[in-house]
Amino acid sequence: MLQTKNIDKYFYQPTEFQVLKKISFEVKKGEFLSMIGKSGSGKSTLLYILSTMDTDYNGELWIDNQLVTGLTPNELAEVRNQKIGFVFQFHYLLPEFSCLQNVMIPALKLGKLSVAEIEERAYQKLDILGLKDQALKPASKLSGGQQQRVAIARALINDPLIIMGDEPTGNLDSKNTSIVFDIFQELTRNFGQTIIAVTHDDDFARKSDRIIEMKDGEILV
């Protein structure tokens, strides 16, 4: 599904510093994987390399049996559009658009389905996340927990191979955190969704299928 081979990464500012050291691991389909570690351990950096957005590294990254290292930015954009869904600490919804439109944007970009079909799918995804009745409200009018759920629905719209989360519950209270966690768990169990999430929350990590702990640019477990 997703595989890394000997990934090294250096930061050059302010001084040369190796953030990641020969990272090699594999993620299987349907796995709910948490990456934990202290600040500066390189877990976020690794996630952004896995997400294909950061291309400045040595080593190889394979997604869905395709070597994505060395692809052009436009090709990478297509890979992300089709195969990866993102959930960040902040929801990053477009405030001028309704929830429904926000969910639809990646699918409209992909352009494989008609607008009517995309709208129907968006309603389905919002329904899974319990937000069907909020669909037509502007994204800026929702509560924080609701916004994060809309962001998850948006990540799901193109049926991605992998959902990547960078502290997906970092901004939420415990109640919303457990809601989001339950959603992730349901997605892996019922829909076979692969999820990779970076988190600080040990409870969250403990409940996931697999934990990767990082320290000083290396995988501990």
């Binding site: 952004y48 997400s51 436009n74 297509e78 944007i105 990646p106 970009k109 960078d166």
Partner: protein, 407 residues
């Protein structure tokens, strides 16, 4: 609609005030550009029209001859070492043949000989000096459209009356002369002759009106004590006055006489025109450019405001060109709205100014709806707005999502 355009539209309408300000900038820039350039075309046209009331497109004449140093051979000292104008007459020899030759050129529309003579107009004891132009009435009318500024009498009578004269309104006022009155002319050669006024013209150029008169070419030749082959100038009109210089050169080489285009003959005026053109072009382009800066500013601001949106869109698979499309679509939409408004405002301005009477030689304000300037303005306006959008769009496209999303 494409998703990038949909986002562009939403951005455009979510901040109506900013959009309106940018559009207004383009409207003003656009309308002033079209308006000023139309005005320039009008000025050029009216100044050309006033030139062509008394000047042909090309004038053929015999230049003064200057004696050349007489050399026995190349190495010896010249015998004449002080070249001066040779005292020969400035007649064009065998004018009829030359006129025929010129008429064979395909650009030429009218060719007419002309004899100018300085005269005194005498009426009783009063005397005015002036210039009497000997013409062939029909051809001269074709060339200068004299009939259009005849205010009294009948210009056609000049043809049938060899003693007929058409005088300027200034002469008629000063000497209290009317159509059918007699007027005595004394030429520089001392010839006295009485003419009958058949018409009075008024060009609104007071100097011309006070001094100029038209008589038959034969009468002018008589005033100068010359025969019917005495022709000093041959005037030529061509299809496009802009080509006068090129055609003049051709005629010069065919006939062997000097041919001078109207631009050469009116160099001061042409220089003034050129200066006006440079200033107007510069000012109007600057105004349009400033409108472009307005768009640039506003889009730059939008890019900064929407940097999170841009980052997440890129994370979700929007390519650089999709992001560029979002912002260029906004710029071009502002541009199109501004251009349409600008054309409307320019049309209104021109319509109003067309009705303003400025008097004198010009009459109504010389401005008209210049289709060419409208098209030019629209093209330049759209190009400027495109680039005003493209630069911030390029900046947006280069946003590194990792930098924004990792915060």
């Amino acid at each position: 609609m494409n998703i990038s355009s949909a986002i562009a539209k939403t951005y455009l309408f979510s901040n109506k005030k900013l959009t309106a300000v940018a559009v207004l900038g383009v409207v003003l820039g656009m309308s002033i550009y079209i308006f000023m350039n139309s005005m320039m075309v009008g000025f050029d046209r009216s100044s050309m029209a006033s030139i062509f009331k008394s000047n042909p497109h090309i004038r053929l004449y015999k230049d003064d001859e200057v004696s050349q140093p007489l050399l026995q051979s190349k190495s010896t000292t010249p015998i004449i070492i002080n070249p001066k104008v040779v005292p020969v007459t400035n007649t064009i020899i065998n004018p009829n043949l030359i006129i025929e030759t010129i008429l064979k050129q395909k650009e030429v529309t009218v060719v007419t000989p002309q004899v100018n003579t300085n005269v005194f107009y005498n009426n009783g004891k009063s005397q005015i000096s002036g210039l009497s132009v000997g013409i062939k009435p029909d051809e001269a009318n074709l060339m200068y459209d004299i009939k259009s500024f005849v205010v009294e009498g009948n210009f056609d009578l000049l043809k049938s009356n060899t003693n007929g004269i058409v005088i300027g309104s200034g002469i008629s006022e000063k000497m209290n002369l009317d159509v059918a009155d007699n007027l005595n002319l004394t030429s520089s050669k001392g010839v006295n002759r009485t003419f009958k006024i058949v018409a009075i013209f008024k060009t609104n150029n007071s100097n011309t009106d006070k001094t100029k008169s038209y008589i038959n070419i034969a009468a002018a030749q008589q005033l100068l004590k010359e025969g019917s082959s005495y022709i000093t100038d041959i005037n030529i009109n061509i299809t496009d006055p802009e080509n006068a210089e090129i055609v003049a050169q051709k005629i010069e080489s065919v006939t062997g006489y000097n041919a001078e285009g109207w631009k050469q003959a009116n160099e001061t005026l042409m220089a003034a025109n050129k200066m006006r053109k440079i200033i107007i072009t510069f000012v109007s382009l600057t105004i349009l450019l400033v409108a472009g800066f307005g768009i640039y500013n506003i889009l730059n601001m939008t890019v900064s405001q929407k940097i999170n949106d841009i980052a997440i869109l890129k994370a979700m698979g929007f390519k650089g060109k999709d992001v560029i499309q979002i912002f260029v679509t906004q710029a071009v939409s502002i541009g199109v709205m501004g251009v349409l408004g600008g054309m409307l405002l320019a049309t209104i301005l021109i319509t109003v100014l067309k009705r303003v009477y400025v008097g004198g030689d010009i009459g109504y304000f010389p401005i008209d709806y210049e289709m060419k300037k409208f098209i030019q303005g629209v093209a330049i306006g759209l190009i400027i707005t495109f680039f005003a959008g493209y630069i911030p769009a390029k900046k947006a496209a280069n946003v590194d999502p990792v930098e924004i999303l990792r915060k």
